[in-house]
Symmetry: C2
Subunit: 298 residues, 2 copies
């Protein structure tokens, strides 16, 4: 085995949660030969059997604790609201020297919930692959999901450097770019780039759901005018997103407050026919789009 490859190789990966992200990571690990074995656990037996049938796990475990026994890497890929409970459950079963990581979209609350359950000699490296689709479940995953996308690590100060390096190497091996930052800073950045856009998309599609019947039929027919993009975002997994908003409450409310002030100002400009104010705001936003295009993120 080549030296470069050996560095990222794990003997046994325990995967807790077999949804879009977990199953995509398992598929990518298999494709790139990054693990000897993947043991998977999901709450429902149906999901475990589906995962075995799809072949992205080698073995299914009846409990999270059973899954992590003998694993040198544990990936928690469940809605962020239950990450702490999973950490508590697996805590006594973790092998000394094991690395525990997660894939949650919120990092501050996850670090707070998981860290107290990590035994001495086990390393916790929180991670957030900024990737996904509006689909969910084990069948929705695919090995290429993380290619060219960012994965953000938020290791608390003092985290074992070798463990961080191995998690970083894993994400690079599945095609991601890797950055690291403070968990609270991560949560503020993601509040505006991801959480607020999802909240707004859910809201406007919800507003359309309540429209008078004759309007609603035509909203569906003429969705291509801009609304369609929002419905795609708003089709994302409800439980995952419920947990994101609950876990990142402070940052989301802060950004929502700023958004609301700005929307009120636009509303007022429309009401009083202030075309100059509208045009000025609409022109400013082009600069950010240009920066995103230049950063190769468009």
């Amino acid at each position: 085995m080549a030296e470069g490859r050996k560095k990222v190789y794990f003997e046994r990966v325990a995967l807790i949660g077999l949804g879009l992200i977990g199953s995509s990571l398992a598929r990518a690990i298999k494709r790139h030969g990054l693990a000897g074995e993947i043991v998977g656990h999901a709450r429902s037996q149906e999901t475990r059997e589906l995962a075995l049938g799809l072949g992205f796990i080698d073995r299914a475990a009846d409990s999270a604790a059973a899954a992590v026994k003998g694993a040198d890497l544990v990936v928690i890929a469940v809605p962020v609201g239950v990450t702490g409970a999973i950490a508590q459950e697996i805590s006594p079963a973790l092998d000394p020297g094991a690395i525990v990581t997660d894939v949650g979209s919120v990092k501050g609350a996850v670090v707070d919930a998981v860290a107290p359950h990590i035994p001495d000699g086990v390393h916790f490296v929180p991670a957030h692959p900024v990737a996904g689709t509006e689909e969910s479940g084990p069948e929705a995953g695919f090995a290429e999901l993380f290619e060219g996308r960012w994965c953000i690590l938020t290791p608390p100060p003092g985290t074992d450097e070798a463990a961080v390096a191995r998690v970083e190497a894993l994400w690079r091996a599945v095609g991601s770019k890797v950055d690291s930052m403070d968990p609270r800073h991560h949560d503020m950045v993601l509040a505006i780039t991801s959480h607020l856009p999802h909240l707004i998309a859910y809201t406007i599609v919800g507003t359309a759901t309540d429209l008078e019947t004759h309007l609603q039929r035509e909203v569906i027919k003429f969705a291509a005018g801009g609304f369609r993009d929002f419905t795609r975002i708003a089709a994302s997994d409800p439980v995952m997103w419920r947990d994101v908003f609950l876990a990142n409450k402070d940052a989301v409310l802060e950004m929502l407050g700023r958004f609301d002030e700005d929307l009120t100002a636009l509303q007022r400009a429309i009401r009083y026919g202030d075309g100059a104010a509208l045009e000025e705001i609409f022109k400013r936003t082009r600069a950010i789009r240009r920066s995103i295009v230049e950063a190769g993120q468009a």
Copy 2:
């Protein structure tokens, strides 16, 4: 010439406004051989010369009135706020029997502004091709823009049926599906499918523009989390959209009011940790997405 083609053929098309929509329609008319000649007008000489160089008009006119002389079809493709002024200017120069149409995203205000200037014997058929990109200007146009997209006609009661049929045939010939409805109903439907999504996208990108510098850099870097879709929408033409919001004020404020109530309810659920309410709302929105996918609009 085949009978089917003859029906949609115009001897001379006058095109007032040479931006994304106007230049795309001109290109499509040329590609499908739907006109003998296209005479174009734009306010700036630079744009007129650019259009001649790109070849989607055969001749440039110094004024809108000069452009429409001898035209059997006049297409007004300018921001909706100036449509009325154009109609007033061209009124004395319109040929008897000519058809005047437009491409505005708002129909009630356009009908009110244009109809009084249409002489007896000239036919006004308001139209809205529900198509576009975030690009603007004569170079951004392309002949395929309208293929598979809806074009909504909103002819006032009593409009000459043959004229409506010719405008419908034109849009079908460039690949569009055609529907017709009352102008006020159109404005309500588009307020939610297009105008409100654009307003919200402009707002959230504006909010990001005002972020602290260290956050803003990372917003651009991690834009792929959902924010990126909003920046694309918010890169649309500022003047066109300023006019849309001013011209469709009532419907936009009505829909914005509903949206704002719904967003406040979500904000409250987040603040008080009401996970059940969040999950319920997030689940409801999936149904509309499914309808859009089934309607072939996704």
